[in-house]
Assembly symmetry: C2
Homo-oligomer: 229 residues x 2
Amino acid sequence: MREALTAAATRRVTRPAPLRQAVYDALTELIVNGSLKPGQHLVEAELAEHLGVSRQPVREALQRLQTDGWVDLRPAQGAFVHSPTEEEAAQLLGVRAVLETYSAQLAARQAKPEDVERLWKLHQEGVDALAASDVERLVAANTALHAFITSVAGNAVLAELIAGVGQKVRWYYTPIARPRGKEAWNEHAQLIRAIAKGDSERAGEVMRKHTERTTGFYRKQLAAGTGQD
Amino acid sequence: MREALTAAATRRVTRPAPLRQAVYDALTELIVNGSLKPGQHLVEAELAEHLGVSRQPVREALQRLQTDGWVDLRPAQGAFVHSPTEEEAAQLLGVRAVLETYSAQLAARQAKPEDVERLWKLHQEGVDALAASDVERLVAANTALHAFITSVAGNAVLAELIAGVGQKVRWYYTPIARPRGKEAWNEHAQLIRAIAKGDSERAGEVMRKHTERTTGFYRKQLAAGTGQD
DNA sequence: ATACAGGCTTCTGTATACAGAACTCAATCC
DNA sequence: GGATTGAGTTCTGTATACAGAAGCCTGTAT
């Protein structure tokens, strides 16, 4: 009976779910979707009342938001939504390129046949979204594909860094840039083929070129000042 | 008079210095130097009393320690000093190699003559420490050299990631590994020459080989189980 | 009219208080 | 004798209370 129970109840029935986590998620969401604008002063008491909790969990969430780079915590003044400079955005793109390249190299070494199969499925989803001109689905498919490659790479430290950098890149560029189109997904296909062959070097090279093109694509739109509307 | 004042008082006379920061520094120090052992349960009240503050700043410091990977915060149980696995250590080394390589490439592109001069000074310090067989000075010189290269690279995002990863690598390997000797500093010299010439590609390649050799060096000592005594 | 000074308000930083969950250990029942 | 269940204890998670600093506004003096 004991074995049966452990097999069935691998996870606790209820997860306590600390409030600070919920607050953290809520605030990142508000920052990413633009409800909280860069530079805005976040007053603890206001947030607390708005979210229906006390100041304590709000403070803890703000602490973490600072170390993750979403807000700046000025001593004795409080939290301000971080204002990314163009320079910082460029630096983020550079770092992301390096990390994604490494991720692709590792993935090519580690990928099992079922992983490759899954990659092609994700790729197809992206192509479909592209055909349907569904921007939201397209962005989601792109994120999912890159995230899966990272998970195949099997380096948790790397995965965490990529996740953090990637989210900030999206935060900064989503309001001003449309996603790349057909050529990006052709590059994805090349990448998957290299991974399938286990060709680490080529996978890295393809990913490097891919992220560099994406970087250039973003920069061009930023310079042109063309929003997505 | 006003300009004179603004020029003189660019910085506030007294910085409030939040307690949480002091607590954070104290705890990282205790973790890195081994006073707090991996897996150990950190009780908020104990730490608070020991440091002479209330639980609140301690909690805030623990939150940040978690996001920085020094402790694990189990819900409803509290903080435990993180126990790095061998796998995680290997992943850290891999990521560090990639980041340092990128750092060297950027540094080669950005370095000004006075930067190169400074690099040679730091190199000399390392060579001196090596000649004096002063392990502590040697480690410090190595850290200083790499840190300065990163600062020359001029990418703040990158610098922050390298700092975080590097500190954890040192935490994990310092107790079990001696620093590398003469050959490491010869490699440093090659690296500085490449940076001085502005040869980004070569600088990256030298750094990649350098970090890979360091990685192998650590792994060997780990496998042999030979401590530093 | 303008510049400075003083008080007032607001918000952060820190401390304390209380409720609930998890672990411990002992007593009880099979 | 061994497993189990229950009370007791400890610690976290959350809320509230209080002190001090920073900014703002007003009043006054030049």
